[in-house]
C-alpha cells in the first residue's frame, strides 16, 4: 500500500493544478487586460485622460479590423501573411483616385470610387490567395507569402515610392471623424466585429467556416462547398485589410506605401491568438480577437508612454504571444 499513497496524492495535486490552469486559461485574456489597465493607471502619466482613450481607439481600430479577418482565416486552419501588403496596396490606390480630374469634377462619385476601387483590388488579392490555397492546394503560409512580398512592391511602384500627401476632408473622416464623441474607426471596428460575430454564429456561412476548419474532409462529404468557403474567407480578410489600409491613409492624410500596414500580419495573428483562436482551425472567437487587439495596442502604448524603446516593445509583444499559446495548451487539457 505504501507504494500507492504518494502516487494518489500526486494525482490530487495535479488535478487541483489543472483546475487552476483551466480557470486561468478561460479568463486569461480578461485578466491580462485588467492587469494592463491597472499598471497604466498607476504608472503611465495622464492615462485617464480622454485624449489617451482617443489615441488608443484610433490606433487599435486598424489592428482590430484586420484581426477579425485573420481570425476567420485562422478558423479554417489557414493563415494570411499578406494583410499588411494589401493594406499598403489599398491605401496607395486611394489618393490618386480622389485626386483625379474626374473626382474633382464629381466629388461624391469620386469619394465612392476612392473607397470602392481599392477595396475591389483588395478582394482580388484575397481571391488570388484563396484560389492558390483551395484550388492549387498551396500551403496558406507559402501562398500568402507571395502577396506579402509583392503586394507592397506593387504599391510602391504605383506611387513611385513617394509619400503622397493630400487634403480631402470627406475621405479623412474615415480616420479623424467622431461619432458620439469617439473616433469613427472605433465604431467601424466594433460594427465589423459584430457583423462577423453574427455571421459566424447565426448563418450557414459561419457554420460552414467552422466545419471546414474543424474537419475539412468531413465537411466536404457533408456537402460543404469547401473551395468556396476558403476563397470567400480570404476575400473577406483582404477586404477588411483594405478597409484598414484606407483608415491608416485617412488618419495620416498621406499614403506611405513603404510603412502602411508594416508588421500588421504579426499584430493581427497575435491578436487572434491572444483572443483564443486555435491555429489548427475550428474556432472563430471574433470578440476575442477584438480583446486581443486591445491588449496588443495597450502593451505598445504602455511601453511607449513610459519611454521604453520600440525594440523592447517587440520583445514584449513576443512574450504576450508565448503566454497566449501557453494558455491555449492549458485549455486543450
Amino acid at each position: 500500500m505504501s507504494a500507492v499513497v504518494p502516487g494518489a496524492a500526486d494525482g490530487r495535486r495535479s488535478r487541483g493544478g489543472l483546475a487552476w490552469r483551466s480557470r486561468l486559461a478561460r479568463h486569461g485574456t480578461l485578466i491580462a487586460l485588467v492587469a494592463l489597465l491597472l499598471v497604466n493607471v498607476l504608472f503611465t502619466p495622464n492615462f485617464l485622460h480622454l485624449q489617451t482613450l482617443f489615441v488608443n481607439i484610433s490606433q487599435v481600430a486598424t489592428i482590430a479590423i484586420v484581426a477579425v479577418g485573420m481570425t476567420l482565416v485562422i478558423a479554417t486552419g489557414g493563415i494570411d501573411l499578406s494583410v499588411g501588403a494589401v493594406m499598403a496596396l489599398a491605401g496607395a490606390l486611394a489618393p490618386p483616385i480622389f485626386g483625379s480630374d474626374f473626382a474633382v469634377a464629381h466629388p461624391a462619385l469620386g469619394l465612392v470610387a476612392a473607397i470602392g476601387l481599392p477595396l475591389l483590388v483588395a478582394m482580388a488579392c484575397g481571391a488570388f490567395n484563396g484560389v492558390m490555397i483551395s484550388v492549387l492546394r498551396v500551403q496558406p503560409i507559402i501562398a500568402t507569402l507571395i502577396l506579402f512580398i509583392s503586394g507592397r512592391g506593387i504599391a510602391q511602384v504605383l506611387t513611385n515610392g513617394n509619400l503622397q500627401t493630400f487634403s480631402n476632408p470627406a475621405f479623412s473622416y474615415l480616420g479623424t471623424g467622431r461619432v458620439f464623441g469617439l473616433p469613427f474607426q472605433g465604431w467601424l471596428a466594433l460594427g465589423i466585429a459584430a457583423a462577423a460575430f453574427w455571421v459566424v454564429t447565426r448563418t450557414i456561412h459561419g457554420r460552414h467556416l467552422l466545419a471546414v476548419g474543424g474537419n475539412e474532409r468531413a465537411a466536404e462529404l457533408s456537402g460543404v462547398p469547401v473551395r468556396r468557403v476558403k476563397i470567400g474567407v480570404y476575400m473577406v480578410c483582404a477586404f477588411l485589410s483594405g478597409i484598414a489600409g484606407l483608415v491608416v491613409v485617412a488618419i495620416n492624410s498621406a499614403s506611405d506605401a513603404a510603412r502602411n500596414g508594416q508588421l500588421m500580419e504579426l499584430d493581427a495573428i497575435a491578436a487572434a491568438v491572444v483572443g483564443g483562436a486555435l491555429l489548427q482551425g475550428g474556432r472563430a472567437p471574433v470578440f476575442g480577437a477584438l480583446l486581443g487587439a486591445v491588449i496588443i495596442q495597450l502593451v505598445k502604448y504602455t511601453l511607449l508612454a513610459n519611454g521604453i524603446e520600440d525594440e523592447v516593445a517587440l520583445i514584449a509583444k513576443a512574450a504576450i504571444i508565448v503566454a497566449a499559446v501557453a494558455l491555449q495548451q492549458g485549455r486543450r487539457e
Partner: protein
C-alpha cells in the same frame, strides 16, 4: 492463470473516479507469463482506463498492481516501458519520415566508442528482429513508405528491442486487411513463444478465438469474468459484456439487421460499368427502395471506392450512373445530398465528426441548406429537430451543445447516422456502420437502419462483419480488385457461401450474374 505459476501481472481491486464519476470499481486483470490475454467490454466498460493505469497515464485511487511478483508503481508511460510494459496504440506513435531502424531504436540507439550512433549495429539489430517476425523490409527506408500493418509490426519490434515483458495491443487490427491480420497473428505467436505476454484488446470477437489463451470481460468499470478462451463461445462472451442471458442473445440472432423484406420499392439508382481513377474498375450495382444491398469483399476490393463513386465524391472515368428522377448523376457530395443520398463514412474520426463542434452542429451539418432562410439558420427549428433525433435514436449526451468529441464512439456514430437520416434520404450508403462501437450500440444502430429500410429507404451496406451482410442484406454484390464479380440473393446466403464468393473468383456457382436484376 492456467499455468498455476505466479502471474506476470496481477491487478486487483482497482478503483478510479474522474471528477466524481466512477470509471473503475473492482477491476482486476491477471496475465500469465507467455500468455495472450484478451480484454473485452463495451465502450465505457473501463478497458482503456485500466490500461492507462497500468501504463502510468493515470494514477489509481485504490487497489494493487504487481508485476513480476513485485508491487508496480509507474508514473508515466516511459517508466512503464522501462519496467517492461510496452503499448502499441491504435494511433501509431512513430515517425513516418525517419527510417525503420531509427523508429525501432529511437532513444536507445547503440553507440560506438566515440559516442556516435553505431548504425551498422542498429540496422543489423532491427533487421534481426523483423526477420524473426518473418518480415523483409528495407530498414533504411522511411517508415512511412510501408503499409499500416508493417508500421504496426515495427512498433511491436520496437517493444521487443526494449525487451518488453508485456506488450499491450489496443485494437491492433482495426485498419489491417486479412493478410496483414494473419501476419500480425504470427508475430503475436512468436512473441508468446519467446515468453513475452500480450494483452490483446479488440472489438472483433473472432480474433480472440484465433489468438488468445484467456479472456477478461469488463462491464461497467468492473471485471466480471476471466475464462480460458476454449471454455467460451461468442454468444457467451456477448452475453457477459452486455450482462444478459446467453439464450436471449442466441435466439435473437447475431445482429438486428435481419427482417422480412416487405416489398421492394422502385429503383433508387443503377450503376452500369462505373469506373473511377481510384481503384474502381467496373461496378454494376442497383438498389431499390426498401432493400439492403450489401457490398461484400476484402479490404481494398473497391467497396469504399464504389460508395464514393455513387456519392459523387470521385469523378467517373467511364460508365453510367442513373438516379431515379434525375437526368444526370451528382458530381459533388453537395449535389448527392440534394438528390437525397447520405454517406456514412468508414473512418468516423477523419471523415465523420467535426470534433470542435457540438452534437447539434454535427447533426445538422448536411441538412443545413434546408434549415436556413436567406443564409440565416432557423435556430428554433434546428433545436427541435436535434431534440427529436436525440430522443428517437437514444443518443447519450449531456445536451445537444456538448462537443461531439466527448461522446463515446457508439453515440458519435448515432449522431452521424442522424446527420444522414435528417436529410430524409432515398439512399443511405453505410460504410462499416458498426465498426468500433460496442455491442449494445451496435444492435441499436442496426435496429435503426432496419426501421428506415422498412419505411422505404434503399441502403447500400458495406461491412466486414459477415453476419451483418448475411442476415441483413437482400442482395450482396461481391467485389474483387475493384470489379463487381457477381451477386447473391437472400434467402439462401450463408457465411460459407459469402466467404467462398469473396475469396475465389472461381466460386461462381454461388453467384448469379449482376445484370439479372430482380
Amino acid at each position: 492463470m492456467g499455468t498455476g505459476d505466479a502471474p506476470l501481472l496481477s491487478m486487483r481491486g482497482i478503483g478510479k473516479s474522474f471528477a466524481g464519476s466512477v470509471a473503475l470499481d473492482g477491476a482486476s486483470l491477471a496475465i500469465g507469463a507467455g500468455e495472450v490475454q484478451g480484454l473485452i467490454g463495451q465502450n465505457g466498460a473501463g478497458k482503456s482506463t485500466l490500461i492507462k493505469i497500468l501504463t502510468g497515464v493515470y494514477v489509481r485511487d485504490s487497489g494493487s498492481v504487481e508485476f513480476e511478483a513485485r508491487p508496480l508503481s509507474v508514473a508515466s508511460p516511459r517508466e512503464a516501458q522501462a519496467a517492461g510494459i510496452s503499448t502499441i496504440y491504435q494511433e501509431l506513435t512513430l515517425v513516418p519520415l525517419r527510417s525503420v531502424t531509427e523508429n525501432v531504436t529511437l532513444g536507445y540507439e547503440p553507440r560506438t566508442r566515440l559516442g556516435t550512433i553505431d548504425w551498422r549495429a542498429a540496422h543489423a539489430r532491427t533487421r534481426e528482429i523483423l526477420t524473426g517476425f518473418g518480415i523483409e523490409v528495407d530498414v533504411r527506408a522511411p517508415l512511412g513508405e510501408s503499409s499500416t500493418a508493417i508500421q504496426q509490426l515495427v512498433a511491436i519490434a520496437r517493444a521487443v528491442s526494449l525487451e518488453a515483458r508485456l506488450v499491450i495491443m489496443d485494437e491492433p487490427t482495426s485498419s489491417l486487411d486479412e493478410r496483414e491480420v494473419s501476419l500480425l497473428f504470427s508475430v503475436v505467436r512468436r512473441l508468446k513463444a519467446s515468453g513475452t505476454s500480450v494483452l490483446y484488446v479488440s472489438h472483433f470477437l473472432d480474433e480472440l478465438f484465433a489468438i488468445c489463451d484467456r479472456v477478461t470481460v469488463m462491464r461497467d468499470g468492473a471485471t466480471v469474468a476471466d475464462h480460458a478462451i476454449r471454455e467460451c463461445s461468442k454468444s457467451s462472451l456477448i452475453a457477459e459484456m452486455l450482462g444478459r442471458d446467453v439464450g436471449e442473445i442466441e435466439s435473437a440472432g447475431m445482429t438486428e439487421l435481419g427482417g422480412a423484406t416487405v416489398e421492394t420499392g422502385d429503383l433508387v439508382f443503377e450503376a452500369t460499368g462505373v469506373a473511377t481513377s481510384r481503384r474502381l474498375g467496373h461496378l454494376d450495382l442497383a438498389v431499390r427502395g426498401g432493400e439492403i444491398v450489401g457490398l461484400g469483399g476484402l479490404l481494398g476490393s473497391g467497396r469504399t471506392e464504389a460508395a464514393r463513386a455513387v456519392f459523387g465524391a470521385d469523378p467517373l472515368s467511364s460508365g453510367t450512373l442513373v438516379f431515379a428522377g434525375r437526368d444526370r448523376p451528382p458530381r459533388t457530395p453537395a449535389e448527392a445530398i440534394a438528390a437525397g443520398i447520405g454517406f456514412l463514412t468508414e473512418d468516423r474520426k477523419a471523415e465523420g465528426i467535426v470534433p470542435h463542434m457540438s452534437v447539434r452542429e454535427n447533426l445538422t451539418l448536411a441538412l443545413l441548406p434546408a434549415l436556413t432562410k436567406a443564409g440565416r439558420i432557423r435556430r428554433a427549428d434546428e433545436r427541435e429537430l436535434v431534440e427529436r433525433f436525440i430522443a428517437s435514436l437514444g443518443i447519450k449526451t449531456s445536451g445537444m451543445d456538448q462537443p461531439i468529441r466527448e461522446l463515446s464512439g457508439g453515440n458519435q456514430q448515432k449522431v452521424l447516422l442522424a446527420r444522414w437520416l435528417a436529410i430524409h434520404p432515398k439512399l443511405l450508403i453505410l460504410d462499416e456502420p458498426t465498426r468500433g462501437v460496442d455491442v449494445g450500440a451496435k444492435f441499436e444502430i442496426q435496429a435503426i437502419i432496419r426501421e428506415h429500410v422498412e419505411r422505404g429507404v434503399g441502403v447500400l451496406l458495406i461491412s466486414s462483419e459477415f453476419e451483418e451482410l448475411v442476415e441483413g442484406a437482400d442482395h450482396i454484390v461481391v467485389m474483387q480488385d475493384g470489379v463487381s464479380v457477381g451477386r447473391m440473393s437472400n434467402p439462401g446466403i450463408t457465411e460459407e457461401r459469402l466467404v467462398a464468393a469473396i475469396a475465389h473468383s472461381g466460386a461462381v456457382d454461388a453467384v448469379e450474374p449482376v445484370r439479372g436484376t430482380a
